[in-house]
Amino acid sequence: MKGRLITRAFLVAAAFVTLFPIYWIVITSFKTQLDIVVNPTYLPWVDFMPTLEGWRWLLTEARGDVIRAITNSLIVSGGSAVIATMLGAAAGYGLTRFQYRWRFWRNEDIAFWFISQRMLPPVAIVLAFLLMFRWLSLLDTQVGLTIAYTGFAIPFTVWIMRDAFAQVPLELEESAGVDGASAAGIFFRISLPLALPGVVGSMLFAFVFAWNEYLFALMLTFQEATTVPLLLASRITSFGTHWDQLSALTLTNLIPAAILGIMLERFLIRNRTEGSLK
């Protein structure tokens, strides 16, 4: 009982720290510029008069841009999350079930090689992408960004999926094999469902990565394929930051991702018959 009390207290404290900044974004979206930079104000109607100016901007002047950016972001992030997780699952499964060897390369090295590609600061490779994409006519296209983000996410999805498959007991697969299930059957009926939390975790990771990526979206798109982070950044102007618009956009950007989180949350927890970890 005492343990639960401590757990709850910890969670409440963590929830406050997590939520306070988000609350701040929410109230900032209803403030005038002056309410923001002069003194901190906490409660609408109590210490500042809320204004709908930021939201009005978002829903009128910027509506077309916002819709286009969110559509692009959804397609690019969703597409790259699904593809990267699929490829990551294939590669991760291979890495846990088989020993590869080529010269002195072993599984661990292969896994490491996958991930080491993500170690270079992005600005060092973005120009290479610009040249490559121009050559492939992929500039300013959703497909182009999807490909780029898929490439970036794969190293991570491979690692996450490798761990997820490593936790699936081999005996289960083997007994299914004895019962005459095909290789594909084993993968789709046994291994993949058991690794579902990994699949969801990996998808969430890849989605969030693409959802918030800035530099490549900046360099590789012009207008047709611009994503939400670009729109966010465009609120930071030479005159300074339009805090209310930035906040309203941030919340708008948060909502689809949060909905995805709510939808996928149930799959994060594996359905188990034997009582769960308490």
Partner: protein, 274 residues
């Protein structure tokens, strides 16, 4: 996909031997190891490297501890845990640009931020969150931690799902305390996932830039400039792409070295449990 990942690597490696500069249309010239020689006398690079290691070491350690605690706490079958899981995931879904501006520059603002205001209400002195070189580093770590602890929690939560229930039940029957169960059964089984989570987070953290550029601009002085921010300044702002690529490769080597070391240590720890 392979070409996609290899071409940029080769391209930027090639750049390090050239004189490519965005600002000047000079004929492409191969300068051999000139850029690499500059690296060794570049104190700024060293300073930003130290900063980066502080951000990664401090940030990832805090994020892992908190993420582990949250994941375990949210896996205990509390009634409200489903809501909480989504709630705790929210920060990582907020765009880093917005995190930097709204949290880094507003919440931590020394003049109009609520934190100093609340400290003042408690009778405590205002903290120079962004203008004191030492504290500014902490601010960057705190903002980074707010955003990325959820990722740690997510990955560890996924890992917790793969832990079989039987040994835990058995230990509980034998009268083991919750702490003993965590220490001797759950934690060892979580090690592989922990390694992945730490590695993934550390790799991203080594490239920390968005928050820094927005919150402190790398200042005061160079106190919060990371290598990636430095590479960005040199490459994109100053146009010296060739040298920026060389500095980027230095980071790459450091990260590979650190990762190998970390993997080695963590595997040793893991081996102790097996």
């Amino acid at each position: 996909m392979l070409a996609l990942s290899i071409f940029p690597l080769v391209f930027s490696l090639g750049l390090t031997f050239t004189n490519v500069n965005l600002f000047r249309r000079v004929p492409l010239r191969f300068v051999g190891l000139e850029n690499w020689a500059r690296i060794f006398s570049d104190e700024a690079l060293l300073e930003t490297l130290v900063n980066t290691v502080i951000f990664v070491g401090g940030g990832v350690a805090i994020q892992y501890s908190l993420g582990l605690a949250l994941a375990v706490a949210l896996n205990r079958g509390l009634r409200e845990q489903r809501l909480m899981r989504v709630l705790f995931l929210l920060p990582m879904m907020v765009s880093p640009i917005a995190v930097g501006f709204i949290i880094g520059r507003m919440v931590f603002s020394e003049g109009f931020g609520p934190i100093n205001d609340m400290l003042g209400a408690l009778g405590l002195p205002a903290v120079a969150w962004v203008t004191s070189p030492g504290v500014a580093k902490l601010t960057i770590i705190l903002v980074d931690t707010w955003q990325w602890t959820p990722l740690m929690m997510l990955l560890i939560l996924v890992g917790l799902q793969g832990i079989p229930g039987e040994p835990i039940q058995a230990a509980r029957v034998d009268g083991a305390s919750e702490w003993q169960i965590f220490r001797h059964i759950v934690f060892p089984l979580l090690l592989p996932v922990s390694i992945t989570a730490i590695l993934i987070r550390a790799l991203e953290a080594f490239k920390i830039i968005d928050i820094i550029r927005v919150v402190t601009g790398g200042g005061p002085g160079r106190a919060t400039e990371s290598v990636t921010a430095y590479v960005y300044n040199v490459g994109a702002k100053q146009g010296d792409l060739a040298y920026a690529a060389s500095a980027a490769y230095v980071l790459l080597f450091v990260v590979i070295g650190v990762s190998f070391l970390a993997l080695y240590v963590m595997r040793r720890v893991q081996a102790r449990y097996e």
